[in-house]
Subunit: 245 residues, 2 copies
């Protein structure tokens, strides 16, 4: 249809990279593209730390749950929700920034996500590969200390960027009807969509494992959500000055 | 550099649309592009309601704070964080989905944001224009009722999509140094970045208002954050089954 649609629809995460650093020009293009994403009332409530130092990358790879590609990729980006800059802007006018309850946390999380997705697509359009790393939330306090993040800054996710050393195929998604509703939410579309996707993913796993893996999507979800996860986040966010009242 | 980079870096929000409905093919391309965005552990914790019904659009425009373009655009998308589908997947295996504290809310918010940004770029690559509508959080309970959203579904933001009837220029952003740090967060870059951007935006507002508007970025931020905003969100999210413990 056009180059951008092909890129969007051809996305697959890369988890094996060649040991090639990004050029300064590539980094500039990626960051500039990120910055032009929409931002709620132009508050631009995010920051990004580009980690190039090998020792730092090694520590971050460990903190993210020993994910080697964090160390091996050309550039590791740490995407942060950032209310610190807004607090400084308020202070410049003698105003104490008011707690915005859940709203500020939400808006900063959306802002950083839109910017990061622009960065991902810019990188992919340059022939690079990416993978998001939620694992940095395993130890957000450790990441915060390592990168000297001030109060009101929260590392939401990481992103490996680099030259791909593998060529995986895109992973099948839920059917359109399981995700898209016209005018009203229909729970019947969800039930049918799960059954349909379970068959798709069952076949997908079986084929990729040479017949060994016998699972499906809802089974994996039920295993993942049988136990709470990252219960430390609330206390960490309270410590960093994000409020949920 | 390439068509995608040009598109990413040329983004501007559109707030005036021609009264042209989207074609079925356009909607399919946009939704398919959204679905291929990265998703945390492939949970795809979002849904999107495409609003085409004129009466519904009118009500949503009102709920969003009387934003006329919600009514006038070709398609209004309501992007929702969705844990309901995951709960149903768990139920299929007799598992009661466990509260994931802040983590589930966060992951669903990131998932929906990445998908929405892909949709925005797909639409723009087709010559359409978009604007994000955070205003639907003014009355999330009203939106939830209107669209029949079940428990564990939260309308995070809306998005107008349509044929542009204006040609605004991209808005200047913070300097790169105010947003991007190498290896460590430097608060000195923030202070300098705010001063620099204040000058840029002061000139930008003055030029666009024919000399009448005398403000800057930090002043606007300090006015916005002098008072709490959308304090109702926490109670709404508690009612919808999202937990922050």
């Amino acid at each position: 249809m056009n180059q951008t649609i092909d890129l969007l629809q051809g996305h697959r995460s890369i988890r094996k990279f060649k040991p090639t650093a990004l050029t300064e020009e590539q980094i500039q293009t990626i960051v500039h593209s990120a910055q032009m994403a929409s931002s709620s009332s132009n508050i631009q409530a995010y920051s990004v730390i580009g980690v190039t130092d090998p020792a730092l990358k090694k520590q971050l790879a460990h903190l993210a749950g020993d994910q080697n590609y964090v160390e091996e990729c050309g550039l590791f980006l740490v995407w942060c929700a950032d209310l610190y800059r807004l607090q400084q802007a308020c202070a410049k006018h003698g105003v104490e920034m008011q707690k915005q309850y859940v709203e500020s946390f939400l808006v900063a999380t959306v802002d950083v996500s839109l910017a990061a997705q622009n960065a991902a697509l810019a990188a992919e359009s340059l022939g690079l590969g990416i993978v998001y790393i939620g694992g940095i939330r395993q130890n957000p306090a450790g990441v915060t200390e390592l990168l000297n993040l001030p109060q009101l800054v929260f590392p939401v996710f990481g992103m490996c960027v680099g030259v791909p050393d593998q060529e995986p195929s895109p992973r099948p998604r839920l059917s359109r009807d399981a995700v898209y509703h016209e005018n009203t939410y229909r729970t019947s579309q969800i039930t049918a969509g799960i059954d349909n996707y379970d068959q798709t993913m069952h076949d997908y796993y079986r084929e990729r494992s040479g017949g060994k893996l016998d699972t499906n999507w809802s089974k994996q979800i039920s295993e993942k959500y049988a136990h709470p996860s990252r219960a430390h986040l609330r206390a960490f966010l309270d410590d960093q000055g994000f409020g949920f009242e």
